[in-house]
């Protein structure tokens, strides 16, 4: 018998396939397509202390093998989330990871504090959204700043704390090490790459913000390399993210060192892509005689 279960930071996931933040809302829409209980877990849309309207102008732009997005963390705010969305999520029977964004340490701390008394399972601290900038610099770029945010959040956070890393980090391995030092129980990587596009007829950037976040299979080889490098450097569980479109990609991330994977843009290509991936992982395990993912994790 194969076993796809993974235990991450003390939380049991029935399989290693998690819906990535911002691509799955709070699950409601996908619940029309399949029972969410089939998923390993769901990361919520990035939550901020206060409700946010998000960015103006074009928010989605297609590129080869991916998309640039400039959503800008549109979300109902932590309080509304807890009141309006969380009860629905709890009913679904899957692990709930609350993705928390912010534009100041104080906001992060307050937001995380509000989640302490809820039934969410894990906090995923998003220090890497390229669409929200603090003095021109996201929290996830410099090791020192990352260390500071995580240290402060750790002080209040009573839930397992996963920090979501930016591929735009100056040195993602250093950032990872610093986050762990500051108390992160796990790491997820990667968030989107800072990218851009220009409307040549208008002679203007496509996005009001100029820079937007690149995701999708186009980034997979780089994301996989980063997971590999980070997994060599730290000993906490890693959630691998970046362009996963099929079970083969998922297995690659696991072999590179991921405990579980998150599926982002893939959900837009087919709403049930996560089920295909879960299914593919199971079949692969059966064919290869793998009883538990522990056997292949970090195998390279």
């Amino acid at each position: 018998m194969i076993n796809t279960k993974v235990n991450i930071c003390g939380i049991e996931f029935k399989n290693p396939v998690i819906a990535a933040s911002g691509t799955f809302g709070f699950g409601r829409e996908y619940a029309n397509y399949f029972p969410l209980s089939k998923l390993g877990g769901i990361c919520t849309k990035g939550l901020t202390l206060k409700k946010k309207e998000g960015n103006k102008g074009i928010r989605i732009y297609e590129t080869t093998g991916g998309i640039l997005n400039s959503i800008g963390l549109e979300n109902p705010g932590i309080n509304n989330f807890i009141k309006e969305e969380l009860p629905f999520m709890i009913e679904q029977g899957t692990v709930i990871i609350a993705n928390v964004g912010g534009s100041s340490i104080e906001d992060y701390v307050k937001a995380v504090d509000k989640l302490n008394e809820t039934e969410i399972d894990i906090v995923e601290l998003n220090i890497s959204c390229p669409n929200i900038r603090v003095g021109g610099m996201a929290f996830g770029i410099k090791s020192k700043i990352a260390y500071e945010v995580v240290t402060e959040v750790r002080k209040v956070c009573k839930k397992p704390l996963i920090v979501k890393l930016s591929p735009n980090a100056e040195n993602i391995v250093h950032v990872a090490e610093n986050c762990v030092k500051a108390g992160a129980d796990g790491l997820s990587l990667v968030n989107t790459f800072a990218g851009m596009a220009i409307d040549i007829e208008k002679r203007k950037p496509v996005f009001d913000n100029i820079i937007a976040g690149l995701s999708g299979p186009c980034i997979k080889p780089i994301a996989l390399r980063m997971v590999y490098e980070v997994s060599k450097a730290v000993d906490v569980p890693i959630l691998g993210i970046g362009g996963i479109m099929g079970y083969k990609d998922a297995i690659e991330f696991i072999m590179a060192g991921a405990w579980a994977v998150q599926i982002g843009s893939g959900n837009f290509i087919k709403p049930t892509i996560t089920l295909d991936i879960i299914d593919g992982i199971e079949k692969f395990m059966i064919n290869e005689g793998i009883k538990s993912l522990d056997e292949i994790r970090r195998v390279i």
């Binding site: 691509t23 849309k45 309207e53 103006k56 928010r59 549109e74 959900n267 837009f268 709403p271 049930t272």
Partner: protein, 248 residues
Amino acid sequence: MEKGYKKGVVKWNIQVASNIYEMKMTPHSTRPFQGEPGQFYMLRGWKGLDPFLARPISVSNIIDGEITFLYEVRGRGTDIISKLKSGDTLELMGPLGNGFNTSLKGNIALISGGIGIAPVIFLAKSLKTDVDFYCGFRDEVYCIDEIKKYSRNVYISTENGIVGHEGLITEIFQPDGYEVVYSCGPVAMMKKVVEICEGKVPVYISMESRMACGMGACLGCSIKTSKGIQRVCKEGPVFLGEEVFFSD
């Protein structure tokens, strides 16, 4: 197959004007296609991940579970779709979004601009009341015979004056006497329609926005309205005109 995510088989795919195509599809399974005027499907007419995203296209007709799309070739996605042949299969998801209210009675004006005509034809057909159809085109008209079947009066404009009024359709539209106005077309046109009708007649418009998921999860299609941020794919694409904050 799971709810809303389907395969369809191309029955035919014909050119109706220089850049405009009409494609009729049979469902691949026994489940008939469904959809109301103003609703749309996300279409993938290609294998592989290039283009990456599906394309939103309105339902232009449904008869006996078969669906028709009327579309303009604008870029790569629609170009590929326009080359599909009878018998080819296509992945599509829908129906999505909230369409026009088809139960209203009384005099109704429909105003379309260019390919915005696609959902409005279906609307004209579905309304069980008298409709006047105002349709603006740039330089070539299409689907006029179809429109005439469902409309009391048909008013046409072309920018080059080749058929009907020379100029914009909003130049010959008067709101008086209508219970409600429904419109789909370029944003500039719909904005004008909303202006003309302000304080006189309620206008419902079908908005466009770039979409990733098409079903309310990514917030890529959000627009600003007086009711707050709304998703074109979920709360829309049909909105009450006065509630929309037009950008630019």
